[in-house]
Symmetry: C2
Subunit: 129 residues, 2 copies
Amino acid sequence: MKDEAIDEQEDRADAMFRALADRTRRDILRRVLTGEHSVSALAADYDMSFAAVQKHVAVLERAGLLTKRRHGREQLAHGEVEAVRSVASMLTELEGLWRGRIARIDELIALDPLDPIDPTPPPHPKEKP
Amino acid sequence: MKDEAIDEQEDRADAMFRALADRTRRDILRRVLTGEHSVSALAADYDMSFAAVQKHVAVLERAGLLTKRRHGREQLAHGEVEAVRSVASMLTELEGLWRGRIARIDELIALDPLDPIDPTPPPHPKEKP
DNA sequence: TTGACATACAACCGAATGGTTGTATGTTGT
DNA sequence: ACAACATACAACCATTCGGTTGTATGTCAA
């Protein structure tokens, strides 16, 4: 994979995690995942200005977690479940790395059955006291 | 559940998502999930000061995504896979809301069989191979 | 056409973030 | 005891963030 593509992927990840790192936005996302809501319908339930909520919606939209559809003078927002899944899969990947650590330890033990100690992988030189 | 408990939960979610919303921290988390690393070992691989990396590690630690263990003069950091899983489960919950939306639409149709619409696809016909 | 509504966006402000350098404290090896 | 190392933390700075108010544009209804 090309480096710029990796950067893009990381940019997307930044945007999505950042968008999720605010409870108002998580709440909005919950609501638009259960069904379409206009921006003002969403804004009605929060103790802040319409503009503030509109900006939150824009953040979610830029992160790809939500899209909008025009309906008359309203913009109906709905959650993008595929984007949510893609975030979830990043975390699954992290879990996979952890699982791989176990496998690596097993491998080490298998390769050198004489060494009975130290589950720590060897980035650091180990001293024998 | 008590309101303060909900707030605490949301505070934790804020901290975890925010901690994940930085590519350097995600990279550090990947590394400490595959095995223990001292803070300076981690810092060696990034083009920023040691103090900056140390702060990133502190952010991950405050979010509960990483814990440290003293070993001599070093602090060995390792990833907390349970915390990663808890974030993943929040996203799974969001997905569940979306799935519930379909059920709700079905229910409406059942109540009013005259309504001919619903372009919404069923849960997901095809998964990536 | 006009007025009310829905949305978008700019300008501004205080607080938080991500980086820097510098300093303090504990640990180790000689 | 001491020099070098590993870590922590404070102070500072530029930028971003989350909120505000105000203004502009588009759409509907009468």
